[in-house]
Each structure stands twice: as C-alpha cells, then as structure tokens.
Amino acid sequence: MGLLRTRRSVLPGFGLTLSFTVIYLGLLILIPLAGLFVKSASLTGAEFVAAVGSPRALAAYRLSFGASFAAAATNAVFGLLVAWVLVRYRFPGRGVVDALVDLPFALPTAVAGITLTTLLAKNGWLGRYLEPLGVSVAYTPLGVTVALVFIGLPFVVRTVQPVLQDLEPELEEAAASLGASRFDTFRRVLFPTLWPALVTGFALAFARSLGEYGSVVFISGNMPMHTEIAPLLIVTQLEQYEYGAATAIAAVLLMLSFVLLLGINALQRYGTRRLAGAGEPA
C-alpha cells in the first residue's frame, strides 16, 4: 500500500477502505464485464462479423443511433430553453416545474413506456389528434424518438442549469453598456459560455438513449428492420439462445458506450477548465 500512496496521511483507514472498494469493484463490475469479452472472444471472426454486420443488426444500429441523435438534439434545444426559463424568470409554479424536470429520472422506464404508448396510439389522448394529420407516432421510428426525448429531457436541463446560475450579471451588463442588443448579448456572450455544458448534456442524453430499453420497447412495436432498437435485438437473440450473436452485438454497443463515456468525461473537464478563471480577479 505504501507503493500506491503519494503522500503519507495522518488519517487512518486507507488500507481498509481502498481494499474494500477495489474488491467490490472487481467482483461486481470487472469480472462480469470480463465475462462478456471472454464470451465474445469465443466467437470466430466470421461469426462475429456475421452477427454484428447482419442487415437486421445494421438496421437496429441505424435506428438506435438515428433516434438517439434526433432525440438528444431536440433535448438540446428545448432543454436549453427550459433551463433558461427556470433560471431567469419568475412565474407561479416555478418550483414545481423545476422539480418535475427530474421525473424521467425517477419514473421506472416500463411505466414511461406503457404511458407514452397509450398516449400516442391511434386512439390515445394525443394520438387521436395526430392521426388525422397523417402523423403516426406509435409503432414507428418517430415513436421511438419521442420516448427517447422523454428519457433524455433532464440531462441537458440539469447540465446547463448550474452554468446559467453561475453566470455573473456583470458580463451582460458589460455587453449592454457597450451597446449590444439582448439577442447579440445572448449570441456572442452567453451562448459560447453555455456551449460546453450544452454539448456535455447532449452527449449524456445521447449515451443514455443508445442503451435505453424499457421506455422504447413498448412504443416501438419491435418490428425487425423497421422499429427494432439494438438493445431489443440483443434480448431477442438471447431468448432464442443465440448467446454468441447477442454477445457480439452487446460488445459493440458497450465499446461505443465506453468511447462516449470517455468523451463526456473529457468534455466535462474541458468545460470546467475553460470556465475557470473567466472573470475572476487577477
């Protein structure tokens, strides 16, 4: 343990807590994950490619990716708007609305799933108005996107909100005193400051949407090649005891998630670094 420590500390308990942490991590996280890679390594190259590259799998990736991207983009726009409104304006019920933003975090995904489906089906409370307009939501990729918008909603709001709150009024006052309009001030002064947080929120929503299962699986209808998301494909393969194929697709999905996670961490570090020292006394 002395090898690890860079500085000898007076507080006891290092050995105990670190060992416990590492053992727990190892047992619960690393070993099972290793199992995944061991299993996918047991496939031959050809089997792997066949599973990962089959038309059905490709369609599933396209849908997952496309819908997640669209949903995250929607959340970026509206999430910024919601965060702005919550931080800057006072209106009755603001506290309740602010608390409600976390609903997609707190609500079980299955509940969200059946509710959205019921709302958006042909005879649902929303669906019945959209149907005559020729817009089918339930059981289409659009439905998948709508569900993912719900899931990702809090991410952008909660990432942008603290940044908005910490903005000093002096910045805007300076811009105004120099003659900028409100819109210009927003575009040139505020938005660049918010941009890193916005991108981080987008990435978080995107990453979450990629792997989402419960809220999507009801509204999508799960038609292969059309509305089958990648996680569902994995489950279907599992149910058919195609462990190899399921593992291969899961491995690809996992790799993508890791890359995203690293990217998000880097973004967050970049964001804090960039904002630190802006407007602080010399």
Binding site: T6, R7, R8, V10
Partner: protein, 351 residues
C-alpha cells in the same frame, strides 16, 4: 488575575520542551525543509516567521504529527516522538481556518477531545461540562455554548478553536497563522489577547506567521525562515536590530540600500531603516548625500518622505511630525540625507 492563575493551574499539564533535529521534507520535486534544527524551551512562545514557501507551516505540522518528515527526528522533553501519531502526541493544534466541526455546537466542539478519550480515561459528564464552561469563560464566549460555528464571527470561531485545543490539556500549543483569516482590527485585538493568555498559562507555544509585526509583538523568540532553511533565531530585538543576513533585514522591515557609485546591486551596500535616515537642509560633512525630495505624505503618526539621491537611489525616510514642522519639506526641495544607523553584510546574497 486571581481568576487567571486559578484557571492556569486547572488547565495546565506539565510544560514541555520541543526539539527538532535535521528535519527534511519534500513534496514531489519541491523541497519544503532542508535539514532544519529547532529548539523550543519550556513555556516559551516562539514565532516561525517567513514568506510563503519558507517551510514554516510544514515544520509546524511535522511537530504536530500531521505530516511526516522524510528525514530527521522530533523530541518532546527528550523523548523521540518522530513515529508517534498525532493522536498520541498530546499537542493542541489551532488551524488557520479554524477547522471547527461544523455540525457541532460550540460546547460540543470544545468537549470533543474529552469525549473521544478511551472509556477509562474519559472524565465524567459533569466534569466535562465544568471544564468546557471554564474554557469558554477564559476565551470570553460564555453564553455562546449552544451556537453553531456558522453563527459565529471569525474572531469568535478562532477563540473556540483555541478553547478546543486547550481542553485536552496539551503540553504544547501549535498555531498555524491563527489570525491570518481575520480583519486587521480583530487581528490586533486577538494578538494582544493571545499574549496575555500565554502570560497566564505558560504553555510551550509555537505559532506560524508571515506578518513580522505579529512575530515581533508576540514572541519570546523569533525563528526567521526562508526557502526551507532557518535564517536566524533570536529575540525580537536581536532579529530586528542585529539581523544575521540580508534576507532577515529585508523581511523584518522596510529597507534602504545605499551604494557606492557603480557597485553591483547584489553585493555590498549598506542597509538603513527608514526611521534611521537623517534629513537636513545643510550639508553635514562625511556620510551625507545630496538628494531631491520626490514626495511627502502623512502616514498616521509619522511622515513618509521619498527622496532620490544624486547617484539615482530611491530613499524612503520616515520622520516624526515634529521634524516635518521644523524642516517643512516639499516636493523638489534639495536636501541632504545621512544614515544614522546602518548595517552591512559580508556574505554573498544567494538567490
């Protein structure tokens, strides 16, 4: 005073001497202390004085057992305490930012050291209560015992920190820039108060400061440190009037350096304090230099005069208001300056 001596007797454990031998400590590539030796006698109040990075806080923390030296030993009353944990050293430590337990009341904070004693050493509940109230009386925070730290001012928090450290009857009191985070008015008051407290309790105390005024006012002895080394140890008079090195001279007060024409600024020169510069309207013979007054301004009880000598040196002088009334100095006046008391250093000024 009767109250004070009674308290002193009640609060004191035996006094203790401290010895630090050859302490060396590095943090990564930065060397904080280089083979430092320090002796603190029983009952003394010693100041570790120096700029940031001089190693003074590190030395204090090593004595306390909150850091461990890379090399060297710490002795308490001749016993080697180097490997002992902070818990076993029975030192009272007062942190710069108080480190009060934010969720505990003032009472609980002060009582903490008594409550965590092993069962057999733990005083009875009533005894703890008495001791805490006694201490709160000593630091004049009676009636605040149920307040939380967040409800106290900075000066009050510092006094709670002191009471807390004293509660466990430490044999040594260590204070890390105790007044650094306070307003200057409060700082001056607390300084005076600490001095009086030490006069009553006579606990061996070491405090760290970067404020030379504070060190000179409070300490029995001052230890001037710079870049991990001790530059000088002495009484306040000694380090101020008989500085051993250029660094000590410059750190302990304003300084003027008079040079011969063309002399290398890094070596030689004589060092003169502003209040030791005599200003006259007539040339005074040997040792006088012609100079032109640049600026005169009142600074509280004294008058500060900036002058430029013929050889281009800037001189800062301090004269009394009486002297200014007599001389009536003004900008652009041509006068003569003479150092009354000065000091020269032989050794090279190492950078």
């Amino acid at each position: 005073m009767a109250h004070g001596t009674r308290v002193a007797r009640a609060l004191n454990g035996a006094k203790m001497s401290i010895e630090a031998r050859s302490i060396t400590k590095s943090f990564g590539s930065f060397t904080a202390l280089r083979a430092v030796n320090l002796d603190v006698k029983e009952g003394e109040l010693v100041a570790l004085l120096g700029p940031s990075g001089s190693g003074k806080t590190t030395l204090l923390r090593i004595i306390a057992g909150l850091e461990f030296a890379d090399a060297g030993n710490v002795f308490f009353d001749g016993d080697d305490a180097t490997e002992r944990s902070a818990r076993d050293r029975r030192v009272g430590f007062v942190f710069q930012h108080y480190a009060l337990f934010r969720h505990m009341s003032v009472f609980e904070n002060v009582a903490f050291g008594l409550r965590v004693r092993p069962r057999r050493d733990r005083p009875a509940h009533r005894e703890i209560e008495e001791r805490v109230h006694e201490l709160l009386r000593l630091v004049q925070l009676e009636g605040m015992s149920q307040r939380l730290p967040s409800q106290l001012s900075g000066g009050q928090r510092q006094r709670v920190a002191l009471a807390r450290a004293l509660a466990v009857r430490p044999r040594v009191l260590l204070l890390d820039e105790p007044f650094g985070a306070l307003d200057s008015r409060v700082r001056k008051d607390l300084r005076r108060w600490l001095r009086q407290l030490h006069d009553e309790l006579h606990i061996t105390s070491v405090f760290v400061t970067h404020d030379q005024e504070e060190a000179l006012e409070l300490a029995n002895r001052v230890v001037v440190m710079n870049q991990g080394r001790i530059e000088q140890v002495g009484t306040p008079e000694q380090v101020y009037h008989e500085p051993a090195t250029r660094f000590v001279y410059e750190f302990l007060g304003d300084v003027n350096i008079f040079r011969e024409r063309g002399e290398d600024p890094r070596h030689g020169g004589i060092y003169v304090r502003p209040h030791c510069v005599d200003i006259t309207r007539q040339p005074g013979g040997a040792g006088t230099l012609p100079a032109r007054v640049q600026r005169v301004h009142i600074a509280g009880p004294t008058v500060k005069v900036e002058l430029l000598t013929d050889v281009g040196d800037l001189v800062q002088a301090e004269i009394s208001q009486q002297q200014q009334r007599r001389l009536v100095l003004a900008r652009e006046d041509q006068v003569y300056v003479r150092p009354v008391e000065s000091r020269a250093f032989d050794e090279d000024y190492s950078i």
